[in-house]
């Protein structure tokens, strides 16, 4: 019984951590740089499919199945998703902010279409199965297997968190924020805003791809319906709840929102009869959508909010002076 519970908790947390990686990616794009990506699901799907193609054993009737090690699959997923983000960014980042949103929305639509229609590569509507799982040799002991997977994901998230925190406090990260807050001033200081934004967008996309790959290998099976717009929306809810601009917030938000999602899903499964569950599940999205709008209206900084000062040179400044600076800037 207790072992079951541990196994379930490990499963839940592992899933939440894969979302945390997506959320960290979105945080670089939106939280740090102010780039609005409506196609998160598309970039996650790219990572998942690329990694699945690279690592699954050869399959009849399908191109691919290169049987490569899992690590190469993860890396490949991240690189291709990053490259796709770079292309979309190169197309739209010079234009109005809305155009990037529309283009990323289009990317998600097209990726889903490709996943559905390119049956010889993606397996069509049935997707790809038999994706190798990390620690598969321990699968006989479900609890140990779940814990090992959890440990792996926790390590990945921790490493990413530390790397991103470093990046955020580096000169590169400070330029990103400068561009977000006052593009003209950053330009006047000789920083090419297009180049920095493009880099941030590509890094964010690569993280989403990595997360997609990790998730695919954890579940072992992917299909086009795993990458619906609802996924994009869940990740946005996670980032907004946790506090955009804050990496710890992104991770906490992912765990909290995934928890609320999982609990409400099991509540619906318990309350509604089997025939009505698909219908009731839409109510779940309605409630979380309302929550998202409410947070935008009443608590735009999220649970944790952003640490406004990241440069250690400014760390000595008193809070009151900072508040004053902030006021004047908003005028």
């Amino acid at each position: 019984m207790i072992l079951d519970l541990v196994g379930y908790a490990a499963f839940f947390l592992t899933m939440a951590l894969t979302y945390a990686i997506v959320c960290l990616g979105l945080n670089i794009q939106w939280g740090q740089t102010g780039l609005f990506n409506v196609g998160v699901a598309g970039f996650v799907a790219i990572g998942a499919y690329v990694s699945a193609l690279l690592t699954t054993p050869e399959a009849a009737g399908r191109i691919g199945g290169f049987d490569l090690p899992i690590a190469i699959g993860w890396l490949g997923g991240a690189v291709i998703a990053g490259a796709a983000s770079f292309l979309v960014g190169a197309l739209t980042i010079r234009l109005r902010a809305d155009y990037l949103a529309i283009a990323t929305f289009g990317v998600a639509v097209v990726i889903r279409l490709c996943a559905l229609n390119l049956e010889h590569v993606t397996g069509g509507p049935f997707g790809i199965g038999f994706i190798p799982r990390p620690f598969a040799s321990y699968a006989g002991n479900p609890t140990l297997f779940s814990l090992l997977n959890l440990a792996l994901l926790a390590l990945v998230v921790l490493a990413l968190y530390l790397a991103l925190e470093r990046l955020l406090r580096s000169p590169w990260g400070r330029v990103l924020r400068a561009i977000r807050e006052d593009e003209e001033a950053a330009l006047a200081l000789g920083k090419s805003s297009v180049r920095f934004r493009l880099q941030a967008f590509a890094i964010g996309g690569a993280l989403m791809g990595l997360a997609g790959a990790a998730q695919a290998h954890f579940i072992g099976f992917i299909a086009p319906d795993d990458y619906l717009p609802t996924l994009t929306f869940q990740v946005w809810a996670m980032l907004i709840v946790g506090g955009p601009g804050n990496n710890r917030g992104a991770i906490v938000g992912a765990i909290v929102v995934w928890g609320v999602w999982a609990i409400s899903a099991s509540a619906i499964a318990a309350v509604f009869p089997a025939g009505e569950q698909a219908r009731a599940a839409s109510l779940q999205v309605v409630l979380i959508g309302l929550a998202l709008c409410a947070i935008l209206l009443w608590r735009p900084r999220g649970l944790l909010g952003e640490t406004r000062i990241v440069s250690r040179h400014l760390a000595g400044l008193s809070q009151s002076r900072l508040a004053l600076n902030h006021e004047t800037r908003n005028d």
Binding site: L91, I102, G106, V110, L296
Partner: protein, 301 residues
């Protein structure tokens, strides 16, 4: 291009054009791309379905098919009610969500994000109320008319005619009336428009009413010609944006022309490559415009 592809493209393009006018108006006057606009299309279609069903229960004679069309008087009557209610829905969304966010004066991208949240709420509410099963305004199958080597149902031809009249009327309204001029003034320069006495709140209300009304009409047409589903709006969203950008943001004739071009491109693709790639067409067109001429056909740089 065979005449049949042209006909399919025109019918499809008319629906896209009607929706894209709303997108382009919101974009140029409220200054954000409204991802919830597709949901006004779906809500419009479903409200008309509910009202026309209700009328049919009250007076069964209203559902008797009108001449060559598949529907009875109940649908055109319901359409007026549906347009009013869809406009009311848009005004409600503005009062509860977009208005307060605008008043706070943050970045316009927050409005885009809010519209994304609102879209999910609206779409999933539809799915909860009406389930995801497709619905139709009338049960009967319609025989297509044949002329000049083209087949088209009377319903589709009527839609084309109504769309043409409505678009011309909208264009005349925006270019030839005082309120229309006020709308253009706000889109050119909101501060200056305010100084010369244009009531921007009234203008914004008008934009919502006009955009949602046209969206409702597009939804009813899509429901008549194709089918009614909760996802019908979100499926049209990419073609709508592509049409609005292709036509040039802020241009009503541009949005219609953009819609027709996307519609034709879609029907050509369906015929030559296959219906399963239809949804990719709008994206391909969008990429080409953004590469070649980001301000669109009639847009100002």
């Amino acid at each position: 291009m065979s005449p049949q592809i042209l006909m399919d493209g025109l019918i499809n393009g008319a629906m896209i054009g009607l929706g894209a006018i709303g997108i382009t108006l919101t974009y140029s006057i409220l200054r954000f791309s409204n991802f919830a606009h597709g949901e006004f299309i779906a809500w419009g279609a479903y409200i008309a379905l509910a009202l026309s069903g209700f009328l049919g229960v009250l007076a069964p004679s209203l559902t008797a098919p009108l001449g060559p069309f598949s529907f009875g008087w109940s649908l055109p009557i319901a359409a007026f009610g549906a347009i009013a209610l869809t406009a009311a829905l848009a005004l409600l969304a503005d009062a509860l969500l977009f208005g307060p966010l605008r008043a706070r004066g943050g970045a316009s991208i927050i409005l885009v994000m809010a519209s994304f949240g609102a879209a999910l709420v609206l779409r999933n509410l539809l799915e909860f109320i009406f389930t995801s099963r497709p619905a139709y305004y009338a049960d009967g199958l319609q025989i297509a008319l044949r002329f000049l080597g083209v087949r088209a149902t009377p319903d589709a031809l009527l839609c084309l005619l109504v769309a043409a009249i409505v678009v011309v009327a909208t264009h005349l309204f925006i270019t030839h009336t005082a309120v229309g001029r006020a709308m253009r003034a706000v889109s050119e320069n909101p501060e200056l428009a305010g100084i010369v006495g244009v009531d921007s709140r009234k203008t914004i209300r008008l934009v919502w009413i006009l955009g949602a009304g046209l969206a409702c009409l597009a939804g009813i047409m899509a429901g008549l010609v194709v089918q009614i589903r909760p996802t019908m709006g979100v499926d049209l969203l990419l073609p709508l944006f592509a049409a609005a950008i292709l036509g040039g943001i802020g241009s009503t004739p541009g949005a219609l022309l953009g819609g027709l071009i996307i519609g034709l491109a879609e029907s050509t693709t369906v015929r030559l490559i296959g219906a399963e790639w239809r949804a990719a067409v709008a994206f391909a067109v969008l990429v080409v415009i953004l590469l070649v001429r980001p301000r669109g056909l009639f847009g100002r740089s």
